[in-house]
Structure formats: C-alpha cells, structure tokens
Symmetry: C2
Subunit: 169 residues, 2 copies
C-alpha cells in the first residue's frame, strides 16, 4: 500500500512543490494515525477517545467540553458528542456546577482511568519517530512549529474575512 501511495504522489501531474509536500504530509499523518488506530483498537479505544482520556488525566485544572475542544483544536459540538458517547461507555462522567449555568465538568471514571493506563502501555505507533535520527527529530519539531504558526495565521485571517481573497504573497 505504501509503494502504491508513493507512486501516486510522484505521479500527480501539475502539482507545485508545496502541493506535493502537502500530499506527502497528509499521507504521512493518515498512515501514522491508522497505525495508532489499530494499536488503540487492541485496548478498545479510538484515537479521539484516547486524546480526551489523556487530557483529563494530565490536566491541572477542571475541564469543560469547551476547554477540551480548544486543547484539541476541534469544534465544540464534535467534542460534546464525543464526551457524551464516552459517558455512555462509562469512561467519563459529567457533573453540572450548580453555581454556573451551562458549566459542565468532565472527569475520568475508574473505568476511564483503567483505559488510560492500558493505552499508555501501547506506545509503539505513538513512538514512530524513533525511526528518525536525533537531528531529524529536531528538524521535524522546528518545521512543525513553523507550519503550525502559519496555519494558525491563515485560520485567523480567513475567520476575519471568510469570503474575501487572502492572497498573502
């Protein structure tokens, strides 16, 4: 499957080097994500569920669905639906704070704690960058920081001016 994917990137006609890099990055993330998905499947979790468990386990402050959505850079309604399914499965509980209207705190149940521990032991896919040299790992972190800054800038500009042109260079 990888060989076919490589040929399909190399063979894409008319793409600029940046569009090619985009396809390259997209396919890389899809492949790693799929590996992590299979790895987590062994302990009965999905990737977004594991991310929520991780945030709840490591946060030093109480988390609401809105805060979870911000930490995950996801839409609030996506995260609310996810939290609600996880509550049905007994992984998290939500409690209303009577002092603040619409303020819902999400926390781990005992079953959620156990699921977190099991996923934490499955770290081969999540540690995929072990195939890189120390220098490449540093390069990757630097490049990701730049791309993230650029991506956040674009999001801000498009949200300010959602239908206008935004040719920056």
């Amino acid at each position: 499957m990888n060989g076919r994917a490589e040929r399909s990137i190399a063979g894409l006609p008319g793409l600029s080097e940046h569009e090619r890099a985009w396809e390259n990055l997209a396919l890389t993330w899809i492949t790693l994500h799929r590996a992590r998905e299979i790895e987590l499947g062994k302990v009965g979790l999905t990737v977004p569920q594991a991310a929520i468990l991780d945030l709840l386990k490591t946060s030093t402050e109480p988390l609401t669905p809105m805060k979870l959505a911000r930490r995950l850079n996801r839409k609030p309604h996506t995260v609310s639906a996810l939290v609600s399914r996880m509550e049905t499965e007994g992984l998290v509980r939500t409690t209303r704070d009577m002092g603040r209207r619409n303020w819902v705190r999400v926390s781990l149940t005992k079953k959620g704690e156990q699921a977190w521990s099991r996923q934490a032991e499955e770290r081969t896919a999540r540690g995929a960058t072990a195939c890189l040299s120390k220098k490449e790992l540093d390069q990757l972190n630097t490049i990701c920081r730049k791309l993230r800054t650029r991506g956040s800038e674009l999001i801000r500009q498009m949200q300010l001016n959602p239908y206008g042109d935004f040719f920056l260079q």
Copy 2:
C-alpha cells in the same frame, strides 16, 4: 489558540521525546487541516470531497470505491459512504460494469469538474509549506518518507498479529 496549544504540548508531563513529537505532529496536521477546511468551505467542499475530486480528475485509470480507498489509505466503507453522498450532491456519478459483478466505476460529473476547478484556485492553505526554506522543505519530505515507511511497517505487523505484542525495540 496556538499559544495555548504550545503551552499544552510543553506542559505535558511524563511524555518521552517521541510522544512529544507525536503530539507536535498531530497538532500541526490538525491546524493545517482546519485551515484547508475553511479554505475549501469557501467553495462549498469538505477536505475528503476535494481529495476524491482530485483523484478522479488526475487518475489515468478507471477508479472504483475500493481503489479510491487504497489511494487515500481509508477504510472502504468510509469511502463508499462518501462517494454516495457526493453522488447525491451531483459531484460524481457511479456506473455499474455489467461484465463484472459488484464493479462500480466512479467518475466526475460536469458539476464535479467545476467544483474541482474552484478548489484548485484556493491554494493558500494547501501551499502552507511556502513558509519553509528550500532546505526545510527537503528535510520535511525526507522525514515524511521515513515516518510513512515506519507507519506502514507497523500497520502490516499489527494486521498480521492483531492481538499479540509487537515490541520491536
């Protein structure tokens, strides 16, 4: 949001450098993907729809839902559902090949062609790597190739031995 995300990566306790790199890469991809999502929203498309249109536009061979799934590294049933929604929207058509049972060819409609052209003009987010130097772009492509090879290896191993341990190092 980006500043908060940066702090949340830096502040994650107990993560190895590889787990930190994973979070870094995940958040980068989510940010770029969100930017592309907003960009495509301007022409009424989603990211997976644009990927399907692109494959149909550039393929030199007839494509079935199964072939599309392989090219996109996605599950066949996910792609079938996507194709079916795109057919309802008039972006693609599916035709059965009477000579081969269950063989469905997916092709672009005129509306799909027009949508492809419109999305091809929206390339600011998709060209986000323009913020990198030539050297960084080369580094990114090299690193992605290594990570993809590693990811594909892990997927193959886990699929061969879905419930066993696979500690490779």
